[in-house]
């Protein structure tokens, strides 16, 4: 029986923006517009979608790097969304983040040791030799040589830097790792090294991953369950097998059919969507996907579809199934 680790309930992030003549009209950019999901202990939950769908904002809200506008993030009986100050800081150690760009997310002025050690200092590990030992152990764990701890991050390649970022995230023994596009800046041969490392670490340490990516092939490989986002909303949420074998939402269907498959033998009928992703500042009424949906009906233009559980564990927000 899966044990829930984190429950996200009706999470929202609205950014204020101005439009109209002289910016007189106040509008809200709904980056994330009421999403709910549960992360079970030990699983990899994939969050997938195209640019501007709100997947990164969701990850940042879980980390409290972005304050949620509304909604709850329940972890061990507490609502993290409402915590502040010292209380928030001590809870936050249970969640750690791995960032997309290993060139931008590591300070060039700190040695690798200082980078990995910093979370320990912040969270009050005072014993210097203990810190030293834990940094060394972390470096070996992620496949780096601890002899290199006094070098600077710019002396490392992209894949090695991402290992440093992973070591920094793991050093506090977190429960949940939020990985925001952790491999998309890396070359293919390095990408698979990092994906394999993340899977090995999960097996060894019992970690839970929220894996955010735009690449559906990587998401399929690593995730147990997957949520597909579009313009701030979850369109479909299901176990990996049923999502890819039987995608219900027309958006998911188009997304999956658009992935180029590295096998020239396979020829598929592609669903090529018309038009662009609308701006989240001015999302379409009703179902946000109706402007590009090949199966749009009249109701889709006016009424926002409810999320229903079409099959056990397979949720979809689409009027076709209501």
């Amino acid at each position: 029986m899966p044990e829930p680790l984190v429950q996200v309930k009706n999470l929202k992030k609205y950014y204020p923006a101005q439009s109209g003549i002289l910016g007189l009209k106040k509008v809200a950019v709904k980056a994330v517009d009421g999403i709910s999901f549960t992360l079970n202990r030990g699983e990899t939950f994939g969050l997938v979608g195209e640019s501007g769908c709100g997947k990164s904002t969701t990850g940042r809200m879980l980390m409290h790097l972005t304050e949620p506008t509304d909604g709850q993030i329940i972890f061990e009986g507490k609502d993290l969304a409402s915590l502040k100050g010292e209380e928030l800081r001590s809870e936050r150690r249970h969640f750690q983040m791995i960032f997309q760009d290993p060139y931008a997310s590591l300070s060039p002025r700190m040695s690798v040791r200082a980078i990995i050690e910093e979370p320990l200092i912040i969270h009050g590990v005072k014993d210097k030799s203990e810190r030293r030992e834990r940094v060394d152990r972390m470096m070996e764990l992620v496949g780096l040589n601890s002899d290199q701890a006094d070098r600077y991050s710019y002396e490392f390649s992209g894949g090695q830097r991402q290992r440093i970022g992973i070591a920094r995230a793991l050093v506090l023994n977190p429960d949940l790792i939020i990985a925001d596009e952790p491999v998309s800046a890396l070359d293919v041969s390095i990408q698979s090294q990092i994906v394999n490392l993340l899977q090995d670490l999960q097996d060894q340490l019992g970690l839970t991953y929220l894996f955010i990516a735009h690449d559906l092939s990587v998401i399929e490989h690593i995730s147990n369950r997957i949520a597909v986002m579009y313009l701030g909303r979850i369109m479909e949420l299901a176990g990996k097998k049923s999502l890819y074998a039987e995608p219900l939402h027309p958006y998911t269907q188009a997304l999956i059919s658009a992935i180029p498959i590295p096998d020239p033998q396979i020829k598929r009928e592609k669903i090529v969507l018309k038009g662009d992703i609308p701006s989240p500042a001015n999302p379409p009424a009703g179902c946000p996907f109706h402007t590009r949906c090949p199966k749009a009906m009249d109701i889709c233009r006016t009424v926002r579809p409810e999320t229903i559980e079409k099959q056990p564990g397979h949720f979809v927000a689409c009027h076709l199934y209501n």
Binding site: S189, I190, E220, H221, P262, D263
Partner: protein, 326 residues
């Protein structure tokens, strides 16, 4: 197969960094025929973009073509004057870059940027040029083309900008289009639209395409032939079916194993150990040897030659040359 359109032979492009000379492209040869779509694959730093910039003679100041020839339609591009080269660029060979925002001029309206190319290469009036611009924009699937010509690049989305780039490249009906990672910056549903468009242009106008990419999925969908590069050298060249069915070079094999495939539920991905070496620390012998699971003693000593295999492909690896010698 049509006539050979572009013949690159023994191309060597070197970048000078202080006293160091770095061979970003080292003895690269290949041919593209009329109407063909050829993929150039490799990871960052393998020299695939430098190859394309060498063909266009658009290398930045530090880079120089030291050796080799590039024949286009029988003409050696390296022997042309800068003025003659300008008549070919954008007219007979056009290029599309990865990041459309940095390739479009932000202070000129879309229409003006495309008109410019037409007026430079053809004897037409401004009005005729504008008409052709609008027509080409419509051909690449831009809605409201008459209005878009009066807009600036920043007013368009990423996918639309890439369409504008393609329109600009296609407006003089080039014989060869070099597309350097044309869809890497785009979302997957938009990528599908752009690939569709390129395929259509290839069919309708017979434009040959040199598609530079790191994405093997894109290669499988678009290309007839594939060239794989590693550290400035071609390591394998073959038709697309054999590349995916029987990759020969251990590097190609490693790349394919590293790529997650939809619907294939492998526990772990294959991978290539280590990192791509930097150009100033290239290993002796075969450049892939330190990462190669099948490396032999000879691989660390000598550089293998690019040799023909029985199935018609080319491969730079001692594994196959040893078999032949025996």
């Amino acid at each position: 197969m049509g006539q050979p359109l572009l013949e690159v032979s023994h191309l060597q492009t070197t970048f000078f960094d202080g006293k160091q000379a770095l061979n970003a492209v080292d003895d690269v040869s290949f041919t593209i025929h009329e109407g063909e779509t050829v993929g150039l694959v490799g990871e960052s730093g393998c020299g695939k973009s430098v190859t394309s910039l060498s063909i266009m003679r658009l290398l930045s100041s530090g880079g120089k073509i030291m050796n080799g020839s590039i024949h286009f339609n029988g003409q050696n591009l390296l022997a042309l004057s800068e003025k003659e080269m300008r008549n070919i660029r954008g007219n007979e060979i056009a290029m599309v870059f990865q990041e459309p925002m940095t390739s479009l001029n932000p202070v000129y309206k879309i229409g003006k940027q495309i008109d410019e190319a037409i007026i430079y290469h053809n004897k037409v009036t401004k009005k005729e040029a504008r008409q052709r611009t609008i027509e080409t924009l419509k051909n690449v699937g831009i809605p409201r083309a008459e209005e878009i010509v009066r807009e600036y690049p920043f007013q368009l989305s990423g996918g639309m900008r890439q369409r504008v780039m393609i329109a600009m490249a296609m407006v003089c009906k080039p014989k060869l289009l070099i597309a350097d990672e044309p869809t890497t910056a785009l979302d997957v549903t938009i990528q599908a639209q752009i690939l569709d468009l390129m395929r259509e242009l290839n069919k309708k106008n017979g434009t040959a395409i040199l598609l530079i990419t790191h994405d093997l999925g894109v290669v499988a969908e678009m290309c007839e032939r594939v060239i794989v590069m590693y550290c400035g050298k071609v390591v394998e060249e073959t038709d697309v079916q054999s590349l995916f069915a029987h990759p020969h070079h251990p590097y190609t094999q490693g790349l394919l194993a590293s790529t997650p495939k939809l619907g294939e539920h492998a526990e772990r991905l294959g991978s290539i150990k280590g990192n791509v070496p930097s150009l100033n620390h290239l290993p002796k012998g075969c450049r892939f040897a330190p990462r190669c699971p099948k490396a032999m003693a000879i691989c660390r000593e000598q550089v293998p030659a690019l040799e023909a295999l029985d199935d018609g492909g080319l491969c730079r690896c001692f594994l196959y040359q040893a078999k032949k010698a025996r």
